[in-house]
């Protein structure tokens, strides 16, 4: 009897585990056809380019680590498919080929370190990741020891590159976001009494908030209400009521769009209509299935990338991304940042003469030297990097009008 129980338990556990891995496996399988459909074209292109003059070189192996399953899967998948679009484009050029090694970390620092070890075993030479901040802190500490070059598309905490010469960012740092927001609000006199609702369980949100607060004090903006929530909060009535009761005419939301959508909804039921000001985490709110776009009318947000832009390169990227992502949704800034990360790594590698055979520690030193002078113009703006890994580029403010982004001030 005991034996049968043991077997049953084992079966249940295996099913549970399969459920866990199943999602990532199937999704990889889904993304494979997207990649492979381009592969013949790429192969054909490289055939004509090299015309049999030399044996095909080993591809450059770039690892993409991020949460492809779990609560933060949206961001990880955006990065993965954005990176895939860039890799497909580069491979179609016919020069050095890129092989992406995608590994799921479920937004968990420990799993992220495991994923990192897995991709190194698979021969990764550099890492475009990781997607989210807490795992990135764990992985980058390890990568600093091992000398593996990392360029994160989206882990925006200022702690990420701190003290690590091999850790670079494509996204803005959180402090910069907070400072820009305060400047825009003060310069345009958007509000005099500001309420802030932020996620105090999240480094990203708290980081932006703290810098916003410091800069606001300098610029003379009055913060009349500060309330917090955590990832599990479902009820925002208290936070919104606090802002309303304090008479705030602008609510600053340095948070991701899912809680932001709930806050907008709650404000509507309370007949409270201040100006809502979000940062890059707000990007994506219009893509939520079933979201009433009228709720977001007039919301201002800072983001380096707008899928509504009519810039030819963006239009092209949006189309390719929608083909690559099985859900067919429009790319958000995470996707654009990952796309830029792959191109930046590719450009730097080509300039530094890194090939598919360069060991990762050698590649790391070469890339560090390259990034000091690298200039790259991508989907998310003109970028250069400081020697401590921070990117310098300009954010843009957009206003949501009739369900699309309009440049702020137009």
């Amino acid at each position: 009897m005991k034996k049968t129980i043991c077997i049953l338990l084992a079966v249940v556990m295996v099913i549970g585990m399969l459920a866990g891995c199943g999602s990532s496996k199937t999704e990889t399988a889904q993304s494979a056809p997207a990649g492979s459909s381009d592969a013949p074209a790429a192969a054909a292109a490289s055939d004509t380019a090299s015309a049999g003059s030399e044996a095909p070189a080993a591809p450059l192996k770039i690892a993409v680590i991020g949460p492809f399953t779990g609560a933060a899967a949206l961001y990880g998948n955006a990065c993965r498919y954005g990176a895939q679009v860039a890799a497909d484009e580069i491979n179609a050029l016919g020069g050095m080929q890129i092989e992406l090694l995608c590994e799921d970390d479920e937004h968990d620092p420990e799993k992220s370190v495991n994923a990192y070890n897995t991709v190194l075993d698979q021969g990764a030479q550099m890492i475009a990741g990781t997607t989210t901040t807490s795992p990135c802190l764990a992985v980058s500490a390890q990568a600093f020891e091992d000398r593996v070059f990392m360029l994160t598309p989206s882990a925006s905490s200022n702690k990420v590159p701190e003290g690590k010469d091999n850790m670079y960012q494509v996204c803005f740092e959180d402090p910069a976001m907070g400072v820009f927001s305060a400047q825009i609000i003060a310069e345009n006199a958007l509000g005099t009494k500001v309420a802030v609702i932020y996620n105090n369980a999240d480094d990203y949100s708290t980081g932006i908030y703290q810098n916003f607060k410091t800069k606001s004090a300098e610029l003379g903006l009055e913060i009349v209400s500060e309330t917090t929530f955590t990832d599990d909060t479902t009820d925002f009535s208290v936070q919104v009521a606090a802002a309303k009761d304090a008479g705030a005419d602008l609510v600053f939301l340095p948070i991701y769009y899912t809680p932001a959508s709930m806050i907008l909804q709650t404000a509507k039921t309370m007949d409270y209509a201040p100006i809502f000001f979000g940062v890059d985490g707000m990007d994506g709110i219009l893509d939520m299935e079933g979201f009433d776009a009228s709720l977001a009318e007039g919301v201002i947000l800072l983001t380096p990338f707008s899928a509504f832009s009519e810039d030819a390169r963006t239009v092209d990227f949006v189309a390719k991304y929608q083909a690559a992502d099985p859900s067919g949704s429009a790319p958000n800034q995470f996707a654009a940042d990952a796309y830029d990360a792959i191109y930046a790594l590719y450009n730097a590698s080509v300039a530094a003469g890194i090939t598919g055979d360069t060991p990762y520690d050698e590649a790391c030193e070469l890339l560090i030297a390259q990034f000091a002078t690298l200039q790259y113009s991508g989907l998310t703006g003109e970028m250069t990097w400081t020697s401590d890994g921070r990117v310098s580029k300009m954010p843009a403010a957009y206003v949501i009008k009739d369900g699309s982004y309009v440049a702020f001030g137009e």
């Binding site: 129980i5 899967a73 949206l74 599990d232 309370m270 007949d271 939520m288 079933g290």
Partner: protein
């Protein structure tokens, strides 16, 4: 004063959702003596089913809720039959671990089917609100429906367990499985029925939760599930009125604590109160103290 009333009503509305979820926990625990940690995920499935019915099939909300209840009932029976029934004689720990496994299974299946992108649940009860004190206090239709549904469900369940034959069978099974079987009660059928009722309630809770807070993700059910479990323990696990009182108190404490003490301490307060109650009343507010025969 008006803002206090507003917070109180929000708290009761949130607490009503917790109470309906807690009923599922408490019934299953009372009868099968197991903690069904997958209960929170059945809520999520119920919410997704009704979301799909409303958004893709254009069904009227009532029909969507009934469909969600039917699917969740079937799901509850299947889960019970496949995952828990074979472990009926196994140690409690094995069943507990299995329940956690089922919970992950459901979450990840939902991730595969509906993807991780959050969906916005439509307002199904209309946007009209009850205005009091010249508009200073407005009570949303969601809050009214949630509170009413909670009361109706509570009365119906109490009548069901005290008046009907099946309800009495459930109580018998909860008191002594072996003796109930000797009296000619089909224990397995009764337990399956309990799962069916609990899961149907989970579907209702899912719809109420999501129509109030509007966001639907594969992890939507987990935190309310844990809070509702807390509510069930708080009120005395196994007791139906206990689940209701526990749920309501939990919701009110959470909202008032956030409003008047600190938004950062909302959840800490909830669990702090739980610890204090359990220190003084280890069986919960309405739980019966169990004397162990040695």
């Amino acid at each position: 004063m008006v803002s206090f009333l507003r917070f109180l009503i929000n708290g009761i509305s949130l607490g009503s959702v917790y109470a309906i979820i807690a009923l599922g926990y408490t019934m299953v625990y009372g009868i099968a003596k197991m903690l069904n940690f997958a209960h929170g995920d059945i809520i999520m499935v119920g919410a997704y089913i009704s979301f799909c019915a409303i958004s893709y099939l254009d069904l009227p909300p009532l029909l969507a809720v009934l469909l969600a209840m039917a699917v969740c009932t079937a799901l509850g029976i299947v889960i019970e039959g496949l995952a828990y029934k074979p472990l009926r004689q196994a140690p409690k720990l094995a069943v507990l671990i299995t329940a956690i496994g089922v919970s992950y299974f459901l979450q990840n299946s939902a991730l595969l089917i509906w993807s991780s992108n959050p969906k916005v649940f439509p307002s199904i009860f209309g946007s009209s609100a009850l205005q009091l004190f010249g508009g200073a206090l407005s009570i949303t239709s969601e809050a009214i429906v949630t509170i009413c549904a909670n009361i109706v469900i509570m009365i119906a369940l109490t009548l069901f367990t005290s008046r009907t034959k099946t309800g009495k069978a459930m109580r018998a099974v909860s008191e002594d499985k072996g003796a109930a079987q000797l009296m000619g009660i089909d224990v397995n059928r009764t337990i399956s029925l309990t799962f069916a009722i609990g899961s149907a309630l989970a579907a209702v809770a899912g719809v109420l939760l999501c129509s109030t807070y509007h966001t639907l993700m594969p992890t939507t059910g987990s935190m309310p599930g844990i809070k509702a479990f807390t509510a069930a323990v708080f009120g005395g696990i196994g007791s139906i009125p206990g689940a209701m009182i526990g749920g309501l108190l939990l919701g009110v404490i959470e909202i008032l604590g956030k409003a008047y003490i600190s938004t950062e301490l909302g959840d800490a307060l909830v669990f702090g109160v739980l610890i204090i109650v359990l220190l003084f009343k280890p069986a919960g507010l309405l739980g019966k103290p169990v004397s162990e025969k040695v």
